[in-house]
Amino acid sequence: MSANKEVWIWAEQRNGRLMDVSLQILGKAGELARDIGGSAAAILIGDEVRGLAEELIAHGADKVFTFSDPRLRLYQSDAYTRLISELVEERKPEIMLLGATSIGMDLAPSVAARVGTGLTAHCCGLNMGAIDGQLKLIASVPGWGGGMIVNIVCPKHVPQMATVSPGVAQKPERSGQNNGEIIAMKANLDDDDFRAQTVEIFEEQPNGIQIDQAEIVISGGYGMKSAGGFGSLKELAALLGAAVGGTRPALDEGWIRESSLIGVSGKIISPKLLITIGASGANHYTAGFVKAGMVVAINNDPEAAIFDVCDMGIVGDCAEVLDVMIEKLK
């Protein structure tokens, strides 16, 4: 199957801001493009997006396709799917990457199904390698909750598509010297593009430092239930200037937000220090901090799996340990 030697990304904007993960995967697209002797391009959809297109070029995009229309300001699944699919079918890029944000995970499967190609979810690694004698994308995903790494290939279809977890790739340096081409496309929208219509976005930018940028992360699990929730954990975080993260059960309990979820379906983090408290150590959680520096685990159950993936473990009542820790650090 013939394809352009291009590696594309979908550049996600919300309220006129580019998502960090979009710049991260743009950096990765540049690396993969060098490996196959091609170029990196981005698709950008929104309203009045020229400024963002220039940002993408400053971060290494050789080409940016833009669709600009007031009706495209918010994410519209029908319209975005059609516009991306049609452009992909026309230009046949070799690879297409999307950030594994909650919206990227909504969009990528529809595009893949419409184009009829393969899609690999929540990748934690992307490399070019020889498959059946041809250079193909090898996409690594955490399997079985993160205890395994599964390599997945899409040898006979283009584009080879993947969604990439935030934090996996490095955001490239910004440079005003980069050259790139902005190609403004016509959207030609109709009613079928808005069967499911996003009418409003509500965003509350979080206060303070986030788990994927912090040098120290304090993370809690379901074991904080007996400690009465996250109160003292947040106190410790404030004391250390740390970000607060948590496990899926902590999210279900409403102690953290989706954006602070650590693990396979949340964020992959790499702080210098992680203190994990009251988390039993399920694979899909621990796979989220393989790249952390020092890991300190606190849990009341000496048999908990978390002690197999920590550097220092403290067995004890989570609330008590926290109280003593806060006392000593004050």
Binding site: S77, T81, S102, I103, M105, D106, A108, P109, S110, A113, G116, T117, G118, T120, A121, H122, I138, P142, W144, G145, G146, G147, M148, I149, V150, N151, I152, V153, C154, P155, H157, R195, A196, Q197, V199, I201, F202, E203, E204, P206, I216, D252, S265, K272, L273, A282, M294, V296, F307, D308, V309, C310, M312, G313, I314, E320, V321, V324, K328, L329
Partner: protein, 267 residues
Amino acid sequence: MLPLNIVVCVKQVANPDYFSQITLDPETGAIQREKVPSILNPMDENALEEALKLRDKYSGKVTVISMGPPQAREVLEWSLTLGADEAILLCDRAFAAGDTLATAHVLAAGIREICPCDIIFCGNEAADGATQQVGPQIAELLGFPHITNVNELVVREDKTAVVKRIIEYGYLKIEVQLPVLIAVSREINQPRAATAEGILTLGDKVFKTWTLNEIKVNPKDIGLEGSPTRVSGVFEQKNERRREVLQGALEDMVNTAIEELRQEELV
């Protein structure tokens, strides 16, 4: 306009509590999961609950559908016990080894047999693969709009719906005319428990098993042949660390830890 014809896609998965017991055979590299019990995928319970709530409010029918081996019957029967009206198991060797797209082709073909339907519910992700892909792909193949990661759903009498879907730092509010595919998050509701009545009436419910012969799907689109992706290798992920469990009184342990963190200039 009402009642509602509702479909819920469910999956039998390995219980995530036992994932750490899944290992690779050192000789063959095959995945060993014999001792891992199976359950109804947790988020599918929320999908079923949302369907049952709507049926109870507006009347109609809830059909649960699953693609899987014969033992996937268990999770469909469990869904019937919880209150679903009918169950369909899509079961054929030809369906096996499919990736998300091939799986979506089979499920879409099964659902097409019971269309027109108003809402298809899925859990937002399965506890095992966690790809979040099959739901939107079913919608795409059926020509339905889809909304994922939904934590609030209001269906009105005129078959329109207002939906809140979670994004990283907030939500999107989405309006849609049925039919639609909705993938739900765990926050959307609290699934009901089974009742004695549910258990007693299980035998009266309709349970169908459909093979390739009962659905209209191109054999080239399903199973291994219909899968654009394939696995090229599996490795155990090592998270190698010191694993030093501190000893002594609580104060001493905390002191030791803090001392080391200070030495390493981490705090």
